[in-house]
Amino acid sequence: MSPRRRVWVFLAAMAGLAAFYLWGLAGLPGFGSYPGPYGYIINAIAVHQTNATGVVSAVNFEYRGFDTVGEEFILFVAATGTATVLRHLRGERERAPADEDRDAPPTSEAVRMTALILTGPTVVMGWYLASHAQTSPSGGFQGGVVLATGLILVYLAGRFLAFKRISSVDVTDAVEAMGAGGFAAVGIGAVAMGLAYLTNFLPLGTIPGAVSSSGTIALISFFVGVEVGAAFILIVSELLDQTLLLGPGSR
C-alpha cells in the first residue's frame, strides 16, 4: 500500500472512531462530576481502616493487592523477556573491552558533571519515594523507577564500566527475584497465619500517615520498589549491552 493510500484509509478509520467516540461521550458523566460510588466509599473508609493517608497506595497494596501482584510480575516477565530476546545470537561476538572507549560517543563535560551531581540526590529521592507509599503521593513503582534512574546516571556520567559493575546480571537478577518473591511471600505469610491472601497482618500503628503506620502496605511498597528498580536496571543494561555486540557480518 502506498503511503498516501495508507493515510486515506487511516483518516476514514479515524472518522469512524470519532463518531463512535462522540456517541459514547454522550453517555459519559461530564468532566468533574464523577458519579461514584467506589472512589467515595474508599476515600471515606481507607484512612480509618489502614492508617495510610495515601489512599492510592492503600488501593494498590491493600484493597487491590492481588492485582498488584500480577502487575509486578508483568514487569518481572518483561525484564526476563527483554533478556531472552536480546540474548547473544549465534555468530555474534562481544567487542574487546579496549574498543569500548573509541566507539562510545563522546559525552560532554557538562553532561558528566550534572549526572555525577544528580546521582546521589536521585538515589535518596527514590529511596524516599519507595518507603513513603503510606503517607504521600509515592510508592514502590515510582520509587523503583527513580532508584534505577540514579544508577543509570552513573552510566551517563561516562562510567560505563562502573555501571556494569553495579548492574551485574547476577546481582540484579537476585535483587529482582527478592523483590518479586518478597511481595508474594507477604501474601503467603498471611495465609500461613490462617488469614486470606495478602491480608494486612502487621500492626497498623497509631498515627495515620506516620512512616511506621499502615502495616503491610509499607512493606509491600518496599519490596515493589526493590523489584521495579532491579527490573529497570536489568532492562537498560541489556539494551546497553547491545552496543558492545558485533553481529554476524555487520560493520
Binding site: P3, R6, V7, F10, M14, L17, A18, Y21, L25, L28, G30, F31, G32, S33, Y34, G36, Y38, G39, Y40, I42, N43, A44, A46, V47, T53, G54, V55, V56, A58, V59, N60, R64, T68, E71, E72, I74, L75, V77, A78, A79, G81, T82, V85, L86, L89, T135, S136, P137, G139, F141, V145, P208, G209, V228, F232, E238, L239, Q242, G247, S250
Partner: protein, 114 residues
C-alpha cells in the same frame, strides 16, 4: 467546557495513531505507541475527577475533605507499568530487527521475508 478533557483524549489517540501509520522508523513508531497509550491516562484521570476536590491524600487535610477517585488513579499506575513493560520488549525486538534485516523502516521491513 465540560467535555474538553475527553476531546484531548481522542486528540492524543489520533495523533499517536497517525504517527504509527506514517512512521518510517521503528523506534519512532514505538514512541507513537507510547503516545497512544498516554491518552488512556488522561481518560482514566478525567473520568475520576471531581470538581473542586483535592487529591486522595489525607496527610495534611481532614479525612472527610472531598477527594477525587483513587481507584482510577491506581489503575493509571497499572497502565504506566504495562506501558513500560511493552516498551522494553518492543525496543528489544527493534534491536533484533535491525540486526537481522539491517533496516528500521517499517515500510521496508514489510517487503522483506522473515
Amino acid at each position: 467546557m465540560q467535555v474538553f478533557p475527553f476531546v484531548v483524549v481522542v486528540w492524543i489517540l489520533g495523533v499517536g495513531l497517525y504517527g504509527i501509520v506514517t512512521s518510517r522508523h521503528l523506534v519512532h513508531q514505538i514512541v507513537c505507541l507510547i503516545i497512544v497509550q498516554s491518552s488512556t491516562y488522561v481518560l482514566l484521570l478525567g473520568v475520576g475527577y471531581v470538581t473542586g476536590a483535592v487529591a486522595p491524600y489525607f496527610f495534611d487535610v481532614p479525612v472527610h475533605t472531598p477527594a477525587v477517585d483513587p481507584v482510577v488513579q491506581a489503575l493509571a499506575l497499572t497502565d504506566v507499568v504495562v506501558e513500560a513493560a511493552v516498551t522494553a520488549l518492543l525496543l528489544a525486538f527493534a534491536v533484533q530487527a535491525h540486526k537481522r534485516f539491517g533496516t528500521l523502516d517499517p515500510q521496508e521491513l514489510v517487503q522483506l521475508r522473515g
